[in-house]
Symmetry: C3
Subunit: 354 residues, 3 copies
């Protein structure tokens, strides 16, 4: 064995550099009050964030991403309860990494079968116990209602990290953060540039897409048109009751199509997802759609994907400039660092002017 | 979605305030030597605590509960091995939260199937390894003897966090701590007040009840009478060999009954449990008994329950003054903080006079 | 219950004292550059270590073992991803204990079924995520190739903690560290003492033996002869293609035998292992061989075993001076502390002269 075979490169590709977060940081004026207010909220839905709050969250995330070493202790003596009753590596570790980097401690639950819930313990009681054990809860459960059962008893904040097919709001915040890092000027309501966004997915069936569209619709000034790309099978169930109407009422122009390659050349951002969690299992939608290095993408278009990916997103795109999905995943850690710090009443340790 | 729906109250209900622990703290004179001595003991059974040691543990727990932020670092550089071979959320997180709040690090084992025990590794060897890896072990196993197999090889302390139907001593300490927080004067051997305690459960089948009665019997001056409330089916196996005789020899007067509502109006403390762990599964006893807001409870009676609860304890009691079971669960964290600190030779960091 | 029954001895038996590591520390001159260079390597195979690097690792391990309290913070703000997709207590906790003792934080994956890999996530993508979440990965997987799939995407170092039947290099380093602690003079290439080492096991089937022999062959000056003790059934598959030839080319004289008790009286070191991981299960080899207190061992011979043990190694040897397998396991923590510190670019915090 040659020692060269075991060497590796620590340097980041360009897209991961700090030029983008620094540009976004400069594009937003600090207004810390919006961050302080987050200490009184559970994080349940993409609906609960207004434009000002999101901007301040993205600003703080960008500040942390620009200089992570400055933020190694804001969560000292704070304990996270990381409760993943549904399988996950990526999301659990993203939250736990965010918490650890901020100096906090963690207790993990990675499997429903190892818990007292196996004895029939009700979630309201579990939540009552959580009040005594930690300072914040992150919950993923394939049961939509578990989150709400816990919320009733909690006196510490809880974050919805995916509740069935319903929502996954911090993923959506990370998605928006990626878009604004890519083009910081889009965040300014006075700005005249607009982008055309395609979503390959089923808004009614995918929690990531549902939450993303809610967050996107808070910035209608940045969106020229939203194009939902779906297969024939999904046509009838593409939107839930009132879902499309609400997005349109917020000022988002929506088109739908079943022809991916027809619309690709006009899209600035392509958001693709194929997996939908439903009950104890998952379904795959739109498996006819594939993005590859040969897809007719606009030259400067970027691709977002909440990951994990399947065959819909070819690895031959990984080394192209279209790949912003890795940056999106990386940025999610910083976005969560920003949000978690605010939720446990430590915003004053990270904002510049108190 | 309305942002008001996601808001929550951080303030604690009155019962969780610090008036009770402060009153208990004032009721006990510090004698730190009893705490220092705990560094030489495994924690196996309710039998091993004398009155003086328990008083000092309760005093330290009350001191921590009165001002938890003062105690964020006594376990710095100490590592807990949290080995839960039997399903548990509540107890595992209670111990882990206690350890983390004191500034220590944790390695968790939450499932026997993920361990080398699957390769046939014997527990004495596992314990020998634990000596190298950590500073304290917390063990839960549905096999009564696992604890003793490990103890033989250990040069670091181990805590029995539930061994089959045998014992669960830290739960019992937490139970007693709740009682003395409720009425601090009871801890004084000169005090003439006595309480009548009812236990809905089977002392011979429930590890929580077995350990609780052992700890209770160390304070016979506080107990007017102990009433065991059980169903007909449990009559023949209510006590184990010598169990009742030992309690009586320590000065506890014992009555038994099958009529809950007849005895309720005379009880000051009602301890209820319905689940008994037996081998790989659990049984439910006394499912005929239910406590609800309509039960004929004495006005100032309190209810204790080791949780998780089943149907035997109605949630309509949660918002009444009878509910001390949530305070009991909360206090368990502080009681464990007190005990753990002493066990790893850090008592001198938390007692006032060394 | 008598309180004496719950007491325990904190003092270590003599073999665990610090005389041995201190002697080894004195026997090696510090040359820190070899440690600094480890920051650019994944740890994959016993092949990748030359004599100088191993000597410096053993020196640093001995320095830490001689005074562990001096080394409580070199990994502050560093995060370990501890990914054990194959069952393990001992190895996982050994790594995690090493990391915690150095002041770092940990995220554990203890079960493949709780991860996104259940959704079909490919390992290259998992590794890409790991880049964002932590500073080092420890991986155990019964699939030999998982390690290599991850390496391609990693920009942080990974340690092979057992990949199928292939290798387990840090175990081998710990084995060598035990031998050199036992006889520090053996590490000196000018030294004329040589030892005769017997290995009860199948080099072609056991990852621990494979890696151990690779590391041993880096010190041919210390080895008089290597005797492989095997049963008839293993004869045909004792060595893999080129395995024996490579060891001999490095200067190791090799003999093989099926008669354990004939060769035992001449051996200075007896390395025994019986378990081989193969795919999802394990096989036992050489179950005819047993070491007991009655085996015809040389008076000052030592026994090594990677543990967990089966019936091949009798517990009646535990309290004899032949038992260096417990010291070997204990030393593995310090060896890993040394290696991990170097890998995450913190060598300068633990070497004396920078």
């Amino acid at each position: 064995m040659n020692v060269n075979d075991v060497s590796f490169e620590r340097e980041r590709p360009d897209v991961y550099g700090d030029a983008h977060p620094k540009a976004l940081l400069r594009a937003i004026q600090e207004e810390g009050d919006y961050l302080v207010k987050l200490a009184n909220q559970h994080i349940v839905s993409g609906d609960q964030f207004d434009q000002d709050t999101m901007k301040q969250l993205f600003r703080l995330a960008a500040k942390i991403e620009s200089n992570p070493k400055r933020f190694s202790s804001p969560l000292q003596n704070k304990i996270l309860i990381s409760a993943f009753y549904e399988p996950s590596t990526r999301t659990r570790l993203s939250f736990e990494s965010a918490w650890h980097r901020l100096g906090g401690d963690i207790m993990s639950i990675t499997d429903r079968s190892t818990t007292g819930i196996a004895k029939g313990e009700c979630l309201a009681d579990v939540a009552e116990m959580f009040n005594n054990y930690g300072d914040c809860v992150v919950l993923r459960d394939n049961n939509e209602s578990s989150l709400f059962e816990m919320m009733d008893s909690l006196r510490i904040p809880i974050i919805n990290a995916g509740n069935g097919v319903d929502e996954h709001p911090t993923q959506a915040l990370a998605d928006m953060y990626a878009i604004f890092k890519w083009r910081p000027q889009l965040i300014d309501a006075e700005n005249k540039t607009k982008i055309r966004i395609g979503v390959i997915g089923v808004p009614n069936k995918m929690r990531t897409v549902r939450s993303f569209l809610k967050c996107l619709s808070v910035f209608p000034h940045a969106v020229d048109e939203l194009v939902i790309i779906h297969d024939e099978a999904s046509s009838a169930q593409l939107f839930g009751a009132g879902q499309r109407e609400e997005l349109e009422a917020r000022g988002i122009k929506i088109a739908t199509t079943t022809e991916l390659d027809d619309v690709l050349p006009s899209l600035d951002v392509v958001y693709i997802n194929a997996i939908s969690w439903e009950g104890d299992t998952f379904n795959t939608y739109g498996s006819a759609f594939h993005l590859t290095a040969n897809s007719p993408l606009k030259e400067d278009a970027i691709i977002l994907h909440p990951l994990a990916r399947g065959e819909e997103l070819s690895t031959d795109l990984d080394h192209t400039a279209h790949n912003w999905y890795f940056s999106q995943a990386r940025g999610a850690v910083f976005l969560r660092m920003a949000l978690l710090t605010c939720m446990v009443e430590r915003a004053e340790r990270v904002i510049d002017v108190v």
